[in-house]
Structure formats: C-alpha cells, structure tokens
Subunit: 410 residues, 2 copies
C-alpha cells in the first residue's frame, strides 16, 4: 500500500504540466472510450449482478448496481459535462501589493492525492475520477465490494485513455487492498494522501473520522427540520413541508422533523395531517401534537433518528425560540428551514442556528450542488471547515501564495 | 472535562447576540483591565519566574516568560489593535440567485469552540483570547506549565471583564486539566470542540495531529529553501540569502538550505561564503560545494533538519529542475524562494513546487500575517486545507448559506 501511494503521489506532479485544453481533450476521450466499451462494461457488471443475486442484495441495491447502455451513456455524458466546466485550478483568488511592495497572488491549486471511499453505484467511479482529473488531483478510489467487477472495468477504460496520452495510470487508481485493513491503512497515510472523502453509511464515516490522520471531508447524515411559524402563509407551509419530506425521503436533505408554532398548531396540524395522509406518510408527534391530531408518539429517540423513509416527527414548539432550541439540540448542521412572512423572525432563525444551509420559505431539498448552480457535485459536506454544504469541484482545490519581489529583505 | 466543554459550547451561542460595537467595547475594557492589574500580573509572573529559575529554564525561555510593565502594556495595545480590525463574521462572502429564483448568501460565521495549545509566552493568552472573542469564538486555552500562574492571572482579568458585561466567563477558558491526559481528552471532544490549533514543538504537533478527532490546523516546522538561479542578480541573491538565514534564525520562515545553480556555483559560492562568514553562519555543503569553498559536509540528514539556528546547508543543483527536485524531496511546504531575472524559470519554480508561499526575488522571512497585511496573526498554518500559510483572523471563521425563497419546492 505504501509503495502504491508513493507512486500515486509521484504521479501527481505530471498533472501540473497539462493545460486545461489537454485535460478536457483527455476527458472527452474517456467519455468516448466508455461508450466504445459498453459491451465489456456490461459483461463485468453482469458478474456483479449475479454475485448480488447470490448474496441476496435488496432490490434497491441491485437497481443502484445495475448498468445498461443508457446508464453507461449517462456516465459518458457526465464526463463530457465535467470537461465543459471552467478549470478550477490556476485561478487568481485574490491579489494585492503589500506595504513592502511585494506583489502577492493567491492562486487555486489541486489538493494532491484524494482518497474516496464510496458504495454501490458504479457511476461514482467515473464521476469522481473525472472530477479529480479535471481539478488536477490524483484519485485513489475504494468502491463497494458488490460493484468490484464493474468498478475495475470502468477504471481499466479510463486508465487505458491515460496511457494512450502518455500519462501514468496511477492518476486514477483503485485501492490495491480493498479490505477493511486496506482502508485502515489508507486513512493513516498522511505522508502521501492529502484528503479522504468518505461517502456512505454512518458506520463507515464514523470509523474514518475517528481513525484517519489524513484530513477528512465527511458526507454524513442530515437531521433536517422545517419550522412553520405563526406568520407563515399556510398554503406555502403545507406545500413546502410535504415536498421536504416526500419528494425523495431517502436522501440527506429530506426533512425528518416538522416543528409547528404553538400559536397556530390547532389550525395547522389538521391541514398538515390531511396533506401527509395523501402521501401515506407515517406520522409521529409530541404530546401536544397528539392532543390535536391522532398520531403515534414521537420520543426523543425519534427526534434523533434520520429515517431516510416516508416517516415524519411533528413537534409543537413555543415560537421561533422553541424551534431554535429543538434544532440546536437535535439538528446535524445540514439543512434547516423556516416558513414565515415575518422578516425579524426569519433573521432570528438564520442567525440562531449553525447549519450549512438555512432556508426561508423554501424546501430543504434544494441543498445540492446542482440546485446551488455549482455544476457537477462532489457531494454534500457535513464538515464545518474546508468545504461546507454542497461541494462543487472547487472543493477539490486549495491554494498557494505566489509572491513577486525585486530584492526585498526584512 | 466533558461538562466543562459542554458549558463552553453552550456559552458560544451568546456570542451571536453581540454587535461588533459591543465586542469592540468589551475588548477595550479588557485592555484597560490588563493595564489596571499590572501589579497583580507581575506578581503572578514572579512566581513563574521563580519556578523557572528553580527548574533551570534556559535564558531564552526565561526571557519569553518574563512580564514587566512594558510587556503588559504591549499586550493591552495588541488587544486594542484587534478591537480595531473589521468584524470577520457576518460578511457576505458570495451571493447569487439560482435558476429556481432562490437568493443565496454565503455568510462568514464563527467556527464555534476553538482549543489552542501553546507554550511559554504569556502574551499568547491575551492575544488568542482577544482574536477568538473578536471573531465570536469561544476559546479553550492550554498554555505551557511554566507560565501557569501568569496565564491564570491574565485569564482572570479577561473573565472579570466578561462578567462585568453579563457574559459567561466560559467564553475565555483555561483548560481545567492541563496535564498530558487533559490534552488527550480535549483533542477527542469533537462533539464540543470545532477546531484545535497546536503551536509548539514538533512532538506536540505530531501527537495532536495523530490523535485528534477534532479538526486540527497545525503550526508546524518550516524547512525553507532559497534557490539562486544562473540568471540571478548576484547582489540581490547574496542580500536575500543572508537575510533569509540570519535576520531571525529561530523562526519557521527562516531558510535552512541554500540551493545554487551549478552554472554559477564557482562565481557565487565564494561571494556567499564571504557574506555568511561576516554573520558567523555555520556553513555545511554538498561535495560539489566542498570542491569550491571550504565548509563542513552536509548529509541528507542535514538537508532534512530545521536548525532554527545560524547554521546553513548549501547544495549545488542542476538548474531550476534540480532545485525543484530537492525541494519536493526535503521541503515542508512552508516558504520557498527563487532568485532569478528569467520569467520562464521563475514560473517553473512557482508552478513546480507545492508550498504555502513561493517567492521570486524576495526573502522567505516575509511569510507572516503582518507582512502579508492581514493585521493580527493567529499563526502560520502548515495545513493544506482550511487555512494555509499566514493565518489572519479570517482563519477563525467558517461560513453558512442563507437561502431566501418564496415557496419554492422541488
């Protein structure tokens, strides 16, 4: 593993010599190569699908794993879109002349070697490899065991394109030892690896965060809330709450708990129940909620659970202060929304809560790179530092200062 | 420790309610209180000095530890200067309207609770507390054992000012258990602490980096180089090289190794030796250097040593590529300089090396917050992410997105 990472690190220097046009040309070749190798990719995927059936993977997992011509084409299109992005490295982020007449430029540069740990979907392999290549980073990929044949086949196609262009195949690497021990080694190799991005279950992310000596940008859970204030437009409130819960319950920016201002609970809760019943949402509520509508009881444990399913906690709170108090206690710092027409109440909410994304009168479902207008998305970071919230390709860069003098000394 | 940090975290919320003017008023009161308590501070410091003498601290350490009226006044002035800085939180860093007509504002916010581990100089206690307070962060301070009485006295004065203003004293805390075990606990408390900044010896920083689960911004060693190219103005080259080494050898941005282009080694080395001899610099050189001037031999171990003293390695290299190769192998990513009049050579150097600060025709000694024009300095980060190089007060902030809608759903 050490030798492998040493080679990956050494390979990273060659990326600095490529122009943006060269990188984009190679990315387009990679897209074409994926299309040209559709049969090979489908054959490799068929092995994973057969193994998955043998291992009785859930139908949801099997669907995520599956590749056909259309999905392989979508992977190629994604790479072409990444080729179309502005080059994130070499940008002058800031610049000034100091009192000593030194001219300082703060310039974006690649991070270096990035390890990415992810699960089942094989398209993550090509997406991530392309994002890293575009930003002049070496990627070390550790995909899910269940997608091993597919991931290998994809990496082989991308590496062949690198070699055709006289570039080292190490620029896009699969981790040589994909066992738990391999991961344990990878996350301690701070000499060669500059960043680890774990995407996956809570267990994996916790393990990586607790044990890595390499910097980690987590893509962790979202315990998201929507608070309906007494000054909300009720029609908007119902529409936004339903959207935040049911439009795609299995993702991290979906709402898990709805907070309702006590001042309007009697009016609002029956309307909300009617709307959620139509969506077959499984409702749980605090005792005050239960006095107004018939729902199961929500415990503190429920308020702390990311359901990732069509289940919703409801809690009646004392105004915006009550909402803030609940969110400070149970929120995970991901996405929180307030529905209100009152500007002072809205500002209290925006300033009183520490989260990546805070919404006034909109659904928490908008927390993603596409909706934010970042183009291709690396993920949604739950880190507080380096990258927070939707993480575009700029999240794969850092910076250096270039300082131009004419003989200055101190 | 856990209860203590829980209270620190809880206290952090009150900082969001203070206006910039209120914060600056309190900082000025703190400065006045330090001056008013000069006698008490000097008494506490006298105890540390007596202990230091008993424990036979070096005269350099004793000097760093010492407080008199003038130094206490300087601490107060530093706080007043921090009061005069622009408020780093609440700034709109970016803003745009998305395709869904959501108005997004990216706003700077405090990081939260910051643990700072540092050594002997008591003024770091007041500087850091003021920087954290100004940026609306809670600080948990762990100073050196040898300065314990001084640090406690300083913290007491600052805390009294907080309490006079009806603020919790937990906003500026000294760690309750300052033993090695206390530090071990602190750096694992990611539930309550958002960032750890270790400043001090290599051992401490390595220990914290390897064991923390909290994010760490390191202030680590500087293995800095200056490369004199064949196209250098020789007069500038000598002046810059001498400055980078001797102006203050004990700091991280001082040069440790001088690289000289083979094409001009015969001409340059005698001039350099003459200049360094005047400064009583202890010179070591590679075998090629030794063929031209009489110096001790520099081994690979020497090239890897941060002397922090008036000792210099010299190596003859094959042009800028040779210099880059040496720096990639031995550099610590801190500050590197090239002396040349050739623009293409300069750009090769700037692009070929990954370091926080890269100089053309200037001394590496300029890598600090003051020289960069950042005002008060938190330190010089050797991290690659979050904050890199000179770290001003902005390095104590992160951001959130505030998103204003009018009923948007997905």
């Amino acid at each position: 593993m050490e030798k492998f990472l040493q080679e990956a690190k050494a390979a990273s220097r060659v990326l600095n010599t490529l122009s943006g046009a060269e990188k984009n040309g190679i990315l387009k070749e990679m897209a074409a190569a994926l299309r040209a190798n559709t049969m090979e990719l489908m054959e490799a995927n068929a092995k994973d699908m057969a193994d998955g059936e043998k291992n009785q993977l859930s139908s949801a997992l099997m669907d995520r794993l599956f590749l056909d011509e259309k999905r392989i084409d979508a992977m190629a299109v994604a790479i072409e879109e990444i080729a179309g992005l502005k080059d994130p490295v070499g940008r002058v982020l800031d610049g000034w002349v100091t009192e000593d007449a030194l001219k300082i430029e703060k310039v974006s540069i690649p991070i270096g070697v990035i390890g990415i740990i992810y699960e089942s979907r094989p398209n993550v392999t090509s997406d991530t490899a392309a994002l890293c290549f575009k930003s002049s980073n070496v990627c070390v990929l550790k995909g899910g065991k269940e997608a091993e044949n597919s991931n290998r086949a994809i990496a082989k196609v991308l590496q062949a394109t690198l070699e055709k262009n006289n570039l080292p195949r190490e620029l896009i690497s699969l981790i040589p030892d994909s066992s738990r021990e391999g991961v344990a080694k990878l996350i301690k190799m701070d000499k060669y690896v500059d960043l680890i991005i774990p995407r996956g279950g809570e267990g994996l992310i916790k393990y990586v965060s607790q044990n890595a000596t390499v910097s980690v940008v987590k893509h962790d859970k979202g315990q998201c809330h929507t608070y309906i204030d007494k000054d909300a437009k009720m029609e908007d409130a119902v529409k936004i709450a339903v959207n935040a819960k049911v439009q795609r319950p299995g993702v991290c920016n979906a709402m898990e708990t709805l907070l309702v201002d006590k001042a309007i609970a009697k009016e609002a809760l029956p309307k909300l129940k009617e709307a959620f019943d139509k969506e077959h949402t499984d409702l749980k509520g605090c005792s005050l909620t239960q006095e107004i509508i018939t729902v199961a009881h929500a415990s503190d444990e429920d308020f702390d659970t990311e359901y990732l399913a069509n289940i919703l906690n409801i809690k009646v709170v004392e105004g915006v202060e009550g909402a803030i108090e609940h969110i400070v206690r149970f929120g995970s710092g991901h996405s929180e929304a307030i529905i209100t027409e009152n500007i002072t109440t809205a500002e209290s909410f925006l300033n009183g809560i520490d989260a990546a994304a805070l919404y006034v009168n909109a659904s928490t479902r908008f927390t993603d790179g596409g909706a934010f207008g970042f183009g291709a998305e690396v993920g949604i970071s739950t880190n507080k530092l380096h990258a927070r919230g939707p993480m575009g390709i700029e999240g794969l860069t850092t910076y250096k200062y270039k300082i131009y003098g004419k003989g200055q000394i101190r």
